[in-house]
């Protein structure tokens, strides 16, 4: 059997994936923290890179975020004389999500009902809809705070739902044990 036989490669990948899966199965709530943090960080990095002259790298980030955001400069926060890669509402959304994914670990916070998330998201829905219909032009501060509220409420609710669905035992996240005992 050669060192790089198919069976060895197969076994190596299987073993590695199982190890990664065991780790992810235990720590996935904390993995989620990384997501909004990374999105905020990279979206702030884009204008900084552009200001430093790293146009191609900044352009990559702007193009990537362009798939999930309209990136209108008038509706974006600016850093170093350039707009962030996401709009003000999305900055608020991801900041709210980041805080929400911490708060969900506070005892009983994960029990937020769907109507609670709706209440948090309603201002953003109202602000966005009224603007879409052309009845008024929102301000970036309004977009930021309504996005923050929506991100906070929806993330706490959804993470709570996911924790209930996962109901993992042997987790290092204490609040998951509430589901197992309750």
């Amino acid at each position: 059997m050669t060192f790089l036989s198919w069976a060895r490669v197969d076994g190596f990948i299987q073993a590695g994936a199982r190890r990664a899966g065991r780790w992810a199965g235990r720590h996935w709530p904390w993995l989620f923290l990384f997501v909004p943090g990374a999105l905020l960080g990279f979206s702030a990095l884009a204008p900084l890179l552009a200001a430093m002259g790293a146009d191609s790298t900044a352009g990559l980030l702007y193009r990537g975020f362009g798939r999930i955001c309209h990136q209108m400069p008038s509706r974006s926060l600016w850093i170093a004389g350039r707009p962030m890669a996401i709009c003000a509402r999305d900055v608020g959304l991801y900041a709210g999500m980041f805080l929400g994914m911490w708060i969900v670990h506070v005892p009983h916070a994960h029990r937020m009902p769907a109507w609670g998330a709706f209440l948090f998201a309603a201002p953003m829905a109202l602000d966005g809809s009224v603007q879409f219909l052309g009845l008024w032009e929102s301000a970036n501060s309004t977009r930021l705070w309504t996005g923050f509220a929506a991100g906070l409420g929806v993330s706490v609710w959804l993470m709570g739902e996911l924790m209930r669905a996962a109901g993992e035992r042997n987790s290092d996240v204490d609040c998951l044990n509430d589901f197992n005992e309750g």
Partner: protein, 225 residues
């Protein structure tokens, strides 16, 4: 195949709203790569449920560790399948960069030809992978191992026997993707949830290909030396 069912079965699940919203979270997590194994593992679980003839095939978001494991292996399989064109494009891209610096009209013509070659080969190989993906995923759903993605005789036989349904699946998935694009109306982030819905459509169709397959049931993936 029941194409209408593939579009509508999601909404027949009592908890479809929660499941789709959670799926959207994982689609968002996929933008920084973390969510990809979870998503792929969920789609494999969906395909397995459809293959088993389940009335409510939309999986629960439980056993996240197992989903991550299977999704990671499947992601590696699909990456290996993409490697040939990635290496080819990389090689030609480097060649183009070198020729681009040469001040010669011949070099300019060569750059155009090579660029067209990259586009043509990428398109062709993309089509090949798209046509084989249903077979790969069915084989993987039956036996979630790395070798399942490279059991070429099984994959060829399944694809050849069911090429009609596979082409329909690829076309319908494209339509679902176009519909999913309207998710931008929902404050742009809505596209995360509609994209997840389009993946669910694809998963159901792939499961249906197995249910309506021609030819013999797939044997276990061959063990290569």
């Amino acid at each position: 195949m029941n194409i209408g069912k593939a579009f509508s079965y999601v909404f027949e699940d009592e908890q479809w709203i929660t499941k789709v919203l959670i799926g959207g979270l994982f689609v968002l997590a996929s933008t920084v790569l973390i969510g990809i194994p979870f998503l792929l593992g969920y789609i494999v679980a969906l395909i397995r449920n459809v293959m088993a003839g389940s009335e409510r095939p939309l999986p629960e978001w439980d056993e996240l560790g197992e989903k991550f494991t299977e999704g990671l292996i499947l992601a590696i399989i699909l990456f290996v399948w993409s490697l040939p064109v990635l290496l080819f494009d990389g090689f030609l891209g480097a060649l183009i960069a070198i020729l681009g610096n040469a001040a010669s009209s011949n070099a300019g013509v060569l750059v155009v030809v090579l660029t067209f070659l990259i586009w043509a080969v990428s398109l062709l190989w993309g089509l090949v992978v798209a046509l084989f993906t249903p077979a790969i995923m069915v084989q993987f759903a039956q036996k979630p191992e790395f070798s399942s993605g490279f059991a070429f005789s099984n994959l060829w036989r399944f694809t050849a026997d069911n090429i009609g349904n596979i082409i329909i699946t690829v076309l319908i998935y494209w339509v679902a993707g176009v519909i999913a694009g309207f998710g931008v109306i929902l404050c742009v982030v809505g596209v995360l949830f509609t994209s997840f819905w389009s993946y669910l459509v694809l998963g159901h169709l792939i499961g249906q290909i197995y249910l309506h397959r021609k030819g013999q049931p797939l044997p276990p993936a061959e063990v290569l030396p």
